[in-house]
């Protein structure tokens, strides 16, 4: 395996490229017309155009991707996350074309990809699941309504094919359920081309805790400890931590969950990297939620605390080698936090923000890692997800990681699009977050951008001075005749530009 095609874009394509390069493996990028200048295209050894910007015409074109792999002589395909990563048919097509799929076997993807099948499979292996609809999964609206009463409210409607909160709806009572089923199906259809949904008991006050799994082709399965992913908005993860402060010092509890996670992976003969997601209630009861049969967005925090390069291990596994580590070799050292920096405006309902990144300063220095696929001059479009970067901070303790993340967020500058950095800053200042006192509903129900529970001093008078100085300079500037040929170094250069663009 001396050449790998990366069937993805953005930060994860760059992440995989880096691992390949560090292993001396040549890289093949694929890209849409919108991504000609993307970092993954610039950094790869080879790059091939897939088609127009929309994913269906580019990154979801399995046929074209396999053609390019053959044409370029790539021996393997890494799917990253999203797009084709959890499509069993794509994994199978790779194998059929003599290509190594850097991921699990198609049968494991299929088993875990249909959540109803997944639940049945792990239940059989003795793993507890959240109460909900099981079986084949393609239930009619009538059946869903009938079963809903048995499970009891509140409950969740979830997309059978989906992940990442797409096609997911929360139902409080039977009256609103028909409408919500329709909208969930519509979103699932749009996102995955599959409108099937299933029901699940909503565990209130729950924590979302997941275990990173590595499994080689020789039957060895280990876990790399847990990640706490409870901070979500509309079921989209925003911030993850490793280890979980809820698990904390309870090594027995961690080991128990880890062992169950390994058992779940064994149940589908799992190979390569994967993640077992659990829902955990306040009494430390935990239920299998789903398995993500791919590299996870938040894998860097596990890398930071274990020192294990998960992507390099994925490639090693795909090459047929044994795992580099046994379970005994794996230790959690310190604490890591990941903030997902999205192009969205936290002061305006988290609306996505598009535009050209005109300026950017990355936070750097000790204990900081930034994974990103953008740079100044690159455009954030509405074709793909709004993830600009993953900002990761490591510290000897959770407290030190929080302090470090705070300073990194303060340093980070991105101009040209709005970002959710202020959201993360508020979160880092929140007493409940600092105390580890949060569940999956925290962001939506007990967190506000307006009045946080922190006691940080604000400086409205400084904001007033800045706005006033801007106004003053603008007035001075318009009153003044700009002498021809003189280099205009005033602050007002950009204002004119801004106004031309936005007014």
């Amino acid at each position: 395996m001396n050449k790998v095609l990366i069937a993805n874009r953005g930060e994860i394509a760059v992440r995989i490229l880096r691992a390949c390069r560090e292993l001396g493996i040549e890289t093949v990028a694929v890209y849409s017309e919108a991504d000609r200048q993307a970092l993954h295209v610039r950094y790869a050894d080879e790059a091939y155009l897939l088609g127009p910007a929309p994913s269906r015409e580019s990154y979801l074109r399995a046929d074209k991707i396999i053609d390019i792999a053959r044409k370029s002589g790539a021996k393997a395909i890494h799917p990253g996350y999203g797009f084709l990563a959890e499509r069993a048919d794509f994994a199978q097509a790779c194998l059929d074309n003599g290509l190594i799929f850097i991921g699990p076997k198609p049968s494991a993807i299929a088993a875990m990809g249909d959540k109803a099948v997944a639940r049945a499979t792990v239940t059989k292996a003795g793993v507890k699941v959240v109460p909900g609809t099981e079986g084949e999964g393609s239930l009619s609206n009538e059946s869903l309504l009938a079963i809903a009463d048995k499970i009891g409210f509140p409950l969740l409607i979830k997309a059978t094919a989906g992940g990442g909160g797409k096609g997911m709806r929360e139902v409080r009572n039977v009256e609103e359920m028909p409408r919500l089923i329709d909208s969930a199906r519509r979103e699932a259809e749009a996102s995955f081309g599959d409108g099937n949904v299933y029901l699940e008991k909503l565990v209130e006050g729950a924590r979302h805790i997941e275990f990173q799994i590595l499994a080689d082709q020789h039957g060895n399965v280990i876990h790399l400890g847990e990640r706490e992913c409870s901070l979500q908005r509309r079921h989209q993860k925003l911030l993850e931590e490793a280890p979980s402060s809820f698990v904390g010092e309870d090594a027995d509890f961690r080991e128990k969950m880890g062992n169950i996670a390994v058992k779940a992976a064994h149940a589908v003969d799992y190979v390569n990297a994967g993640t077992i997601e659990f829902l955990v209630d306040k009494d430390k009861n935990f239920y299998f939620l789903e398995m993500n049969t791919r590299l996870q967005v938040e894998h860097p925090i596990t890398e930071m605390v274990t020192g294990i390069d998960i992507v390099k291990e994925q490639i090693r596994i795909a090459r047929g080698r044994h795992l580099s580590y046994t379970q005994e070799d794996v230790h959690q050292n310190g604490a890591a936090i990941e903030c997902r920096i999205n192009a969205e405006d936290p002061y305006n309902s988290f609306l996505p923000s598009t535009g050209i990144i005109s300026h950017s300063i990355l936070p750097t220095g000790p204990g900081i890692r930034v994974d990103t696929g953008v740079y100044p001059g690159f455009e954030i479009t509405s074709y793909y997800d709004p993830l600009i970067s993953k900002l990761v901070a490591w510290g000897e303790t959770r407290g030190q990681a929080i302090l470090r993340m705070r300073r990194a967020l303060e340093e980070y500058r991105i101009v040209g699009v709005r970002t959710n950095i202020p959201f993360h800053q508020r979160m880092m200042d929140s007493h409940r977050f600092m105390g580890g006192q949060y569940d999956t509903r925290f962001v939506e129900e007990r967190f506000s951008m307006e009045d946080g529970d922190d006691s940080k001093v604000t400086n409205p008078e400084i904001a007033a001075v800045i706005a006033t100085l801007m106004t003053h300079q603008q007035l001075e500037h318009s009153a003044q005749i700009v002498r021809r040929g003189e280099r205009d170094t005033s602050n007002w250069k950009w204002v004119g530009r801004w106004e031309r663009m936005h007014r």
Binding site: S382, R413, Q425, L469
Partner: protein
Amino acid sequence: MKYVTNVNGKEYSIEILDDHQLCLDGQILDIDFVSIADQPVFSLIIGGKSFEAYVYPGEDDYQVLLQGRSFSIKVEDEREKRLRTAGGSTISESTEYHLKSPMPGMVVSLPISEGQAVTKGQVLVILESMKMQNELKSPRDGTLARVRVKPGDNVEQRQTLLSVV
């Protein structure tokens, strides 16, 4: 030049004395104010303290992002303020609000019909973009008018979708 600056409802009196000094609510302070790399990012050193803020001009105000906080700020010079106070109301209060699409996307639904009353914060349009459904809300009370789109329409960034009068 003297200004009256309103931050989230609280007023500050700010007099710019020269390029290096201003008077804030009676206190004279040294200032050094520059934009960074020709970007809408400003560094202010005031009385020795160093601050940095993003500034976004709005329709009739600025949004200033400082230390992870957002401030909505209106600046008036004293003359303007006197005129406005004499007149009894601002111009902006009587104007219509035109909801523009913040990004390209597809209209999923319009929960309210034309002519209906809307309250501040009420959802006017659900727009699908970047694979997510986004709620566009009314910034004030009023009546829904001139709805120019229907569910299923693809819209461009900054396209006017409807008005609140």
